[in-house]
């Protein structure tokens, strides 16, 4: 009985097993990470796909930048120009220092394109790359997650990067002394009794900004991926019965609807992450 049950589980995983399997990263240890926080582990799939997406995005933009013309632009150049112009306009509206924009503009563009491409990995059929990977390795339980932004490490890595840029500009614009002074006197005012309150507020603000920045993107993509998995389970439950057929049709309908809606989420989340990056860096430029 137990052997038979085990065999059945190996051949056709239950819904829970399917989802857990799909939410487990291919990491450097070879098995699922046990502790919540373990800095000796690295998610190989997240790294591969995020670097791949970054390289693809930047390569395309670099190709355009190399043959860029101020005359009549080609379609590709026009497309890149539209995105760049959009990012540049937003940056101009939020970060008022032209000197800072030389770095902040490209940073925002990179963030937008990179996150857009990473989010777009969600459009690939859910089991396509994992199945190919399992066929290549010959291990039918090989883990692979293809959406780097549905990994908290990926999004928090980027939001911490933004935090570092913010701290850099805080120190650069206000001077180290000026920034420390601000940490203790803003937002409530300069009074020795208020120093600890101000400092605590500032620390909470930095922490909240960074965590919410990373969590927002992660949450959206993670939830999106999860919905795709649930839809996939619907189709997987297909049988030659009335319920089975309606499940199959439901899979197609829900899958199409969610994929179309996801186009919005993919672009929107990339845009929101970019805008918040600009807003946080812009705040670092403003003295209280």
């Amino acid at each position: 009985m137990s052997t038979a049950g085990h065999e059945a589980a190996a051949n056709a995983p239950t819904a829970g097993e399917y989802i857990v399997h799909h939410l487990t990263h291919w990491n450097s240890t070879g098995h699922a990470q046990k502790d919540v926080i373990d800095f000796s582990v690295i998610n190989v799939d997240t790294m591969i796909f995020s670097v791949l997406m970054g390289v693809i995005g930047l390569f395309v933009m670099w190709r355009v930048a190399k043959s860029v013309t101020s005359g009549v632009p080609g379609r590709m150049q026009a497309a890149i120009e539209i995105v760049l112009e959009m990012v540049n306009d937003q940056a101009k509206g939020i970060v008022h220092s032209a000197e800072s924009r030389k770095f902040v503009g490209p940073l925002a563009l990179t963030v937008f394109i990179w996150i857009f491409l990473m989010n777009s990995m969600d459009f690939l059929p859910l089991d396509l790359l994992p199945t190919i990977w399992q066929a290549i390795t010959g291990d039918h339980h090989a883990y692979l997650r293809v959406v780097p932004t549905a990994d908290l490490n990926g999004t928090l890595g980027m939001s911490i990067g933004v935090l570092l840029v913010c701290i850099y500009y805080n120190v650069k614009i206000k001077g180290f002394g000026g920034w420390v002074h601000e940490l203790f006197t803003a937002p409530f005012g300069s009074h020795p009794l208020l120093y600890p309150v101000n400092f605590a507020m500032q620390m909470i603000e930095f922490l909240a900004k960074t965590v919410s920045h990373g969590m927002r993107l992660f949450g959206n993509m993670y939830a999106g991926e999860l919905v795709f998995m649930l839809i996939a389970l619907m189709g997987a439950a297909w049988t030659a019965s009335a319920t089975g057929v309606s499940l199959f049709i439901g899979h197609i309908l829900a899958g199409s609807i969610w994929a179309i809606f996801h186009i919005l989420i993919v672009a929107l989340q990339a845009f929101i992450f970019m805008m918040l990056t600009l807003v946080y860096i812009g705040q670092a430029h403003e003295a209280h």
Partner: protein
């Protein structure tokens, strides 16, 4: 949702990508965009200038046309005046010439008349003499009365 070292790796990748964009992607495209904006602005200014020039040229050409018409009208009027003058002059000359010819003819006629009278006088004298001779031949010698005859001839 486990946290691990991927976070730091992603952080590093983030900055490398941003650096690459800042170095190789952003500046040429922004430069091209600025250049195109300038080109378009120049083109618009040139078009504006062209329009203004066209207006001026139209005004000038109208002016020239008007002037030309005026000049032509003036020329025609002058020519007409001159033509009339020429005709007038020609008429005058013709009249003078005709008068002269008429006067010449009259003088010639008079002269002719005088000559004819002279000739007639000669012939009449001869006739008279021959008549008288015939008469006198019977009566007197012609030579004897020649001087009388000459005096008569003178008086005729």
């Amino acid at each position: 949702m486990n946290l691990n070292a991927t976070l730091f790796a992603q952080l590093v990748v983030f900055f490398i990508l941003a650096w690459f964009t800042m170095q190789f992607v952003w500046p040429p495209i922004v430069k091209a965009l600025d250049e195109r904006a300038k080109k378009i602005a120049d083109g618009l200014a040139a078009a504006e200038r062209g329009k203004h020039d066209l207006e001026l040229a139209t005004k000038r050409s109208t002016e020239a046309l008007r002037e030309g018409k005026e000049k032509a009208a003036e020329l025609i009027a002058n020519a007409e005046k001159r033509g009339a003058q020429l005709i007038e002059e020609a008429k005058l000359t013709a009249k003078v010439e005709a008068d002269r010819i008429v006067a010449g003819a009259k003088a010639e006629i008079e002269q002719e008349a005088v000559r004819a009278k002279e000739a007639l006088r000669e012939q009449v004298a001869t006739l008279v003499v021959s008549g008288a001779e015939k008469i006198l031949r019977r009566e007197i010698n012609a030579q004897a009365h020649a001087d009388i005859l000459a005096t008569i001839k003178q008086d005729l």
